[in-house]
Amino acid sequence: MDILSSSIEQSTDLLNQNENINQEINISVKNEIKKKVTGSEAVIMSLLEEGIQTIFGYPGGAIMPIYDALYGFQDQVNHILVRHEQGAIHAAQGFARASGKTGVCFATSGPGATNLVTGIADAQIDSTPIVCITGQVSSHLLGTDAFQETDIISISMPITKWSYQVTNAEEIPRIIAKAFYIAASGRPGPVLIDITKDAQNQIIDFEYKKCDKIRSYHPYPIASDQDIERAAELINNSTKPLLLFGHGVIIANAQEELKTFVEKAGIPSAWTIMGLSALDTDHPLNVGMLGMHGNYGPNIKTNECDLLIAVGMRFDDRVTGDLNRYANQAKVIHIEIDPSEINKNIHADVAIISDAKIALKKLIPKINPNNHNEWLEEFKKCSQIEYDKVNKNELYPEKGELKMAEVVRKISERTNGKAIVVTDVGQHQMIAMRYYNYKKPRSNITSGGFGTMGFALPAAIGAKMACPEREVVAFIGDGGFQMTLQELGTIFQYKPKVKIVILNNNFLGMVRQWQQLFFEKRYSFTTMVNPDFIAIARGFSIQSAKVTERENLDAEIEKMFSTDEAYLLEVVVEKEDNVFPMVPSGESVSNIRLS
C-alpha cells in the first residue's frame, strides 16, 4: 500500500512537473508569437482575434504588404477577390446584414479607397457594421500628391462612424480593436482604418486586447425607469395604438421581444423597409409596410391612431411624407438607441433612449394584456380595399405581360418565404418587399436609406457567404444590374449559389413612373436598350434562362431553384407598370394614392 501510494504520489509529482514544464513552454511559445511581426501581419492577426474569417477586397500598390501577409494566413481566413471595390463593400454589407457580424473589406489607396465611398455612405445610413482597411502611401509621401494618394480620411469623415490613419504600426492592434468595437456597438456603422505602407512594413511586438470601453463613447444608453413607466402608461391607456418597427429591432436581435410585446398588448404593427422581416409578414398583427410605397392601412391609420410606438426607426422622410401633417393627433413613444434621432424629425412625447431589446424587455411586464380587435379590423378593411384595387391584379394577372409582383409571389411560394431576399433599388425593390411573404428574420437585405443602385448583386454574394445554408435570392432591375454586373466574375470564381432574378422592364422604372405621374410623361433618358443578359451570364459560365411568357414562369423558377449552383433568371416584365399605392413626395401619408 505505502509503496503503491508513494509511487502514485511520485508519478503525480512527475505529471505536475511535466505540466509545469509544458506551461512554461506554452508561455514561451506565446511570448515568441508576441514578438516581431510586421504591421501587415498584425493587421491579419488582429482580424483573426476578432473572429473574422471572410474578407472582401481588391489589392493594389499601397496595400501589397497586407496582401503579402494574407498569403501566409490563407488556411485561416477566406479572402474574396471582388471585381471592383464597390463590390467589396456591398458584399461586406450583405455579409454583415445576413449574419449580424461585422463585415470587413480591403482596398488600396487612391481609387481603391474612393471606390468604397458609395458603400461606406450606404452602410452609414443603414447602420451596418463594417471595417474598411485601406492602404495608404508611405507616411513621408502624405500630402505630396504621390501616386494613388488621396486623403480618404477627410473624404470619408462625414460618412463613417469613425476613421483613423495609422502611420505607426505599434498602433495597429489597439486601433483595429477599437474599430471593431465602434463598428458593431450601439448604432452600428462603418469604420475606416487607413494604414500607410511604411507602417505595414514596420516590425512590432504583437499583443492583442479587445476593446470594450472608450471614455468619450457611450453606445448603450440606459433608459430611465420613469420613461419606461410613462411609456407603459400611454400604451395601457391607448385605444388605437400603432407600432412602427425598424432596423433597430433586427440590429438588437429583438424579434422575439417585439413579437411578445405586440401580442401581449394586441398592437397593430407596421414596418419600415429596414425593419422588414423582424415580424413575419403573415403575423396577424403585422399590418404592413409604411411610407411612400407602403400599404394603405398603416399609412392612413398613422393619422388616425392615438399612440405611435416607434421602435428602432428614425422617421425617414420616405416613411413620414409631410411632417406637418404626420400623426399630429397622436402621442409618440420613440424607442431609439441613438439620442440624435430623438426629436430630429418627429417630437417624442416619451423618449426611451435604449437598445430595442432591453427597452422591450423592460416594457413587456408593465403593459396590460389587451386586444384592439375593432381597431385591427379597420386595418383589415384597408387591406381588403388595397387588395381589390391593387394587389390582386399585381399578384394574379390573367392576361397581358408578366408583372413583377407575380414573379415575387411565385418565388416566395417556392422558397416558403424563407429565403434571404436581396434587392436593388427601384420599382422591383418596392414590389419584392410588398409581396414576398417573409417568414424568417434577417431575410431582407436592401439599400434602404441611401438607395444605392448596384447594391444587390455584390450584397447577395456577401449574404450567401455569410449564410451558405440559406437560399439567397437577389431581385434586381435591368438598370441596377448593369451598375455592378462585373461581380458575376466573383460568382464565377467562388461559386456562391446565389439566385439572381433580373426583373427587366427595359426602363429605369421608378424614374419613369415619376416622369409619368409628375413630369407629363416626358421620359427623359429612362429608356434602356439592354444587352443580352443571357449571353453575359454565359460569358461567366453562370447558368441562366429568360422568361417572356406567363406559361413558362413556373417551370423556369423551378429549374432555377433545383439547380445546385448560381443561376440567373431574366424575366421580361410589363414595360410601363407602376408601383401603387403611392404617397407622392412631400404629401401627407393620408393622401396615399391607390392608382
Binding site: P158, K161, W162, I182, S216, P219, Y220, L323, N324, P339
Partner: protein, 196 residues
C-alpha cells in the same frame, strides 16, 4: 411640392446666436469632423475657438452659430455623436459669460498726427500692447463683446487701421457643473456595453 423638414419650427422660432461648447479628445481631424456637421446643414460658423480645457489632454472648442433653437439642438446632438467628443453643450446668450479679444494696429505717424486716438481707445478700455521701441506701429488690445470691439474699430477706421484681428468668442457657462465631475461620470459610465 416638398417642404423643408424644419419649416414648421423656424416659423415659431427666431434666428439668434448660440454658443456651443465642446469637450473632446485631442485627436487629429477633430476640428474638421465638427465643422462638417455645420457645413452639411449650410450653417455659417460665426466664430470658432480651440483651446485646452482645465482637464489635461481634453480640448475645448467654442463655436458661435446663428440659427434657430431646434436646429441648434439637433446639431449639438450630432456633434456629441462623434466618437472622440466627450460632451457638447448648447447655450443661449444669457447662459454664458463670454468675451472676444481684438488687436488694432495703427501707425505711429497717425497717432502723432491725431492725439485724440488715445482718448478714444482709453474710453473703450483698450490698452497699448508692449512692442519693440523701434517698431513703427502701435498695437491696441481690447477685450469685450464683438459689438463693442467692432465699435472701436469703426471709430478708429477714419484715421487708418493698418491691421485688425479678433479672436473667436471664448465663453464659460454660468452653470455650476465641474468638468472634472463630468469626466468622472464619463469614465465610470456603464453605457459602454449592453446591460446584462
Amino acid at each position: 411640392m416638398g417642404k423643408s423638414l424644419y419649416t414648421d419650427n423656424s416659423n415659431s422660432e427666431t434666428m439668434r446666436n448660440f454658443t456651443i461648447s465642446i469637450l473632446s479628445e485631442n485627436s487629429i481631424g477633430m476640428l474638421h469632423s465638427i465643422t462638417i456637421i455645420f457645413t452639411r446643414r449650410k450653417i455659417n460658423i460665426e466664430s470658432i475657438n480651440a483651446s485646452d480645457s482645465e482637464v489635461p489632454g481634453v480640448y475645448r472648442y467654442t463655436i458661435v452659430i446663428k440659427t434657430i433653437r431646434s436646429t441648434a439642438e439637433k446639431v449639438v446632438k450630432q456633434i456629441e455623436k462623434l466618437i472622440d467628443v466627450l460632451s457638447s453643450f448648447l447655450y443661449e446668450e444669457d447662459q454664458v459669460h463670454y468675451q472676444e479679444f481684438s488687436l488694432y494696429k495703427i501707425s505711429k505717424k497717425v497717432l502723432v498726427a491725431h492725439p485724440e486716438i488715445e482718448k478714444i481707445t482709453s474710453e473703450h478700455g483698450a490698452k497699448i500692447m508692449l512692442t519693440e521701441p523701434e517698431y513703427e506701429f502701435v498695437i491696441f488690445e481690447k477685450t469685450g463683446h464683438r459689438e463693442s470691439n467692432r465699435k472701436l474699430l469703426n471709430e478708429l477706421q477714419p484715421y487708418g487701421v493698418s491691421e485688425f484681428v479678433s479672436s473667436g468668442r471664448i465663453a464659460v457657462s454660468k452653470s455650476k457643473r465641474e468638468t472634472t465631475t463630468l469626466m468622472e461620470q464619463l469614465e465610470n459610465s456603464k453605457c459602454n456595453v449592453i446591460e446584462a
